[in-house]
Amino acid sequence: MPISFLKMAVLGGAALAALPIIIHILSRRRFRVTAWAAMEFLLEAVRQNARRLMIQDILLMLLRVLIIVLLALALARPVLTGAVLGVFGGTAEVGALIILDDSYSMRYRTPAGSLFERAKSRARDVIRSLPPGSTAAVVTANEEATVQAQPTFDLALASDLIGELQPSWRGSNLAASLAAAPPLLERMAKPRREVFIITDAQRRAFPTEQAALTELLGPMTSVAVPYLLRIAPGLTENVSIDRVELLSELPTTAEPVEFSATITNRGPVPQRQVAVELFVDGAKVDTTEVDLGGFAEAERSQGAVLRAGLQRPGLHRVEVRLLGDRLEADDRRCLALRAYDRLPVLVVDGESGDRLFDGEVDYLAFALSPVDPETGEVVSAVQTRVIRPFQLPQENLSAYGAVILANVPALPAPVVAALEEYVGRGGGLMLFLGDQVDADAYNRDLYRDGEGLLPGQLGEPFGSGDPAAGDAVGFSASGLTHPILDLFADPDSVGLTTLQVWRAFSLTVPEGASGRVLWRYTNGQVAMAQRTFGRGRVLLMTTTADAEWTNLPHKSAFLPLAHRSVYYLIRSGQEAWSLAPGEPIVLTVEVADLERVVEVRSYESYDRPGGQVDEVKPELTDQGPRLLYPRTTKAGFYQLRRRGDAEPLALYAVNVDTAESDLTGYGAVELEELFAGFPLRVLSEENALAEEVRRSRRGRELWRWFLAAVVGLALLETFLGRVFAPKE
């Protein structure tokens, strides 16, 4: 008759059984003393009673010890398991934890319904199979574990709750859910605890190393019996859109914008003439086809180029879509895009001059926003606003696509913090240096030992600063693959060899850090470096933006360099509008917005707008006024608009991680092999769950019996205590 205990730790309480003995011994040590004359009568009394008193004492003490031992045993919840007959027989109450894989691969449609519907049906089978008095808890498992139902006796409620569950848009990671299991199991103190993992058993969901499996399953299998219920998708056909990118340097209303989409065949069967469609703001604007016909790995993934003319400036919902297959979650991909007719760029002039082209940024501003000499109109979408450094604290940086600092002296801490916030949220920052720059202050405030905005640490300037001194250096022509610089790869096309720099700061970009050298001078010193900071990018030129240290502003190369740099920075901002499911929206807003309600409209896809509108009020956080919106659980678009405004405030695209699109799963035999070292039963859908599981649910809790014995003994002790008590 194997007996186990549900609350093993409480067993230690049995040690308290020594208490009556200790009290007895202590009471004999604590006595008072008196001389006594009438000893003859006392001795006579002792002679008459000693034996009786000793037997009474021992009897009462034994009863008290037994009461404490039995109480400790009752509280430790003893369970009789195994096939025991007689009064102890019966079906054990079960604490069942259901871990339901709700990653988006479970949306895969099959003739018998989606994998998730099948999994829910299986989960309800589990609930139905539970003996009366059992408890159940439900956890959904995607990249994170979410407790959908805390341990409850209300099994009907748990079953209804399972019925209402919807699959998520996230990938799967059963490790996270298994790690969440032990605390829940701990709360389900039942003679038998069971864990049901219901999943399509994608390979990517399980760790394959035995050590990792042991770490995950070990704590669970020590307290519960685990079952894995495999929901097999059968033949998996799936084509996914892995990426959608903007090909054009700057999306403007002036000319068509190009997008590239990467389409991958995830299934074993070749897919030919797969139609790829482009939608902008819900309207189909372009269509093409890709052929994923081959079996070779290289032929399974193809790019498609699609075009759209954007009629108006502002935010646009761009969506690439395939004709639906069995897993629609990865058949569309969203891109939030801002089209420009004017691109605001903030240029901070660190050393303004009195005459044209004397100022630090005159060349730069002119290059970014050139004026047609005949019409006098700005012919670029880039609209520069030039300010002095002291005006920086008053600027709302989020209104600009990029910020350029040229030869700006040391910045006060609030401005540095605002810049970090701006870049961290996806803004673009470009820095030119010069004689106003204090390298120590830059390193202290902006480099911060690699934690700040700068891609490297500034050193001493090199070069005489005199173009006539003969120590000028040129720009290196090697390794120019970066999108900003690839046009310099042909040295003759933009006159790279004519460029000269006679003074610049040396810059050390540490290996392995997030900084990256893009361009070097011919003497090997760094000319241009970049780093990714948060969601944004920072570009650093080690020389001046004007002609004081270099002849670059005088050369034709300066114009494409300035434009490409700005577009590159802008693009980082647009990429910041792409989120993973569940990743919260954090938007910097104006102080005035604190009083306004912002509507968040979610578009699940172009043809199913969802219609859900949430209202959010921006909050004042430590970092300033922010709009926080955490409910981005669904893939699709989220448009933010101040109530009453015509124009949206921001647009975010939420896309699935297509690693989940590879539906390759473990077969039943492979799972048996994977879990060979663990007491985990793998059940397929064909197994009759109830019979499989019920057979092993024999057992009964004994605490009631022990408690009854405690009460009985306590009554007996009271009764005997009264009987033994001296009569007055």
């Binding site: 009471s27 004999r28 604590r30 006595f31 008072r32 003393v33 008196t34 001389a35 006594w36 004359a37 009438a38 000893m39 003859e40 009568f41 006392l42 001795l43 006579e44 009394a45 002792v46 008459q48 009673n49 008193l53 001296p726 009569k727 007055e728």
Partner: protein, 299 residues
């Protein structure tokens, strides 16, 4: 200075050194005029008859004479003079016991002083003996003025470390006292009942009257201890660690059995046995006993 009634409180008695003063206070101030000596009724002889007159007590009418003469005559008695009372005080180790400040010995000494004063006041003679296993001191009988002072000096003893042997002492005294007298024994009587019986019989055979005051502490009468106690036995008894509550009934039973056997011995020998609790006030003990004797004598 405490007022008289307060002297009779056992707690005050315990601190009272001047036994002569105490005796005077108690007898004159408290008992005075209401009682006669404890041996009244024994130590009297018939004198004559006289005719009944209003105011006489009816109980003194001689009904036999009335039967013969049909007239009421009163029996007149006369107290015998020069009677000797022997006060025997037990000062064995067991008399040392006190649950508070007042030991049995001290209480017995106070009683002895009071009785001595009372007897001397009626011009009778008093002798005092202090004993434990043997007679420790003895003061010859006298009825003179100033004898009380010597008695008090005689009573000024501490409890010894020896056991008591009452039978032996009574035997010795029975032979020692020549003339018939009254022996008043003040003791806890912690001795074998058969030894005590032997002594009493010897006394009675010699024609002496015996009055026994059995002086026990209130705790010895009631055994009210709670919790665990270690009892250090006096008079060569061993130590004992017990929970008294468990033994109370048996203890009291043993005490009652002992006293019953004593009482039987005393009844057989026409001896007064007066149990005394040291928590009782002294005057109450004496008053109630003297009242009893008077009633007995008047019958």
């Amino acid at each position: 200075m405490p007022r008289l009634p307060e002297y009779l409180d056992p707690k005050v008695l315990a601190k009272m050194d001047r036994l002569d003063l105490l005796a005077r206070f108690v007898v004159e101030g408290y008992l005075g005029g209401t009682h006669r000596s404890p041996y009244h009724g024994f130590a009297v002889e018939f004198a004559e008859h006289r005719e009944y007159a209003p105011g006489d007590e009816i109980k003194h009418i001689d009904w036999r004479v009335y039967g013969r003469t049909e007239r009421y005559y009163i029996k007149q008695y006369q107290t015998e003079t020069n009677f000797t009372c022997h006060l025997l005080l037990d000062a064995s180790e067991s008399m040392r016991y006190a649950h508070d400040d007042l030991s049995k010995l001290h209480y017995a000494k106070c009683m002895a002083a009071c009785l001595a004063y009372l007897i001397l006041a009626q011009q009778d003679r008093v002798a005092v003996g202090v004993f434990d296993q043997a007679l420790r001191t003895y003061l010859e009988p006298s009825g003179r003025k100033g004898h009380l002072g010597r008695i008090v000096e005689q009573l000024d003893v501490e409890a010894g470390e020896r056991k008591t042997d009452i039978g032996q002492i009574l035997n010795q005294f029975a032979e020692r006292i020549g003339k018939r007298g009254i022996v008043i024994l003040l003791s806890d009587l912690f001795d074998q009942p058969e030894h005590i019986a032997e002594g009493i019989q010897h006394m009675r055979f010699a024609g002496h009257e015996i009055i026994i005051f059995q002086v026990l502490d209130h705790y010895e009468w009631t055994f009210p201890f709670e919790g665990m106690w270690r009892f250090l036995g006096l008079e060569e008894y061993p130590e004992l660690l017990v929970r008294p509550r468990d033994l109370r009934a048996s203890y009291l039973q043993a005490l009652v059995a002992f006293n019953r056997s004593l009482q039987e011995v005393c009844n057989r020998n026409r001896t007064d046995l007066i149990p005394v609790d040291t928590d009782q006030s002294l005057d109450l003990v004496l008053t109630s006993y003297l009242a009893r004797r008077e009633k007995y004598a008047g019958r």
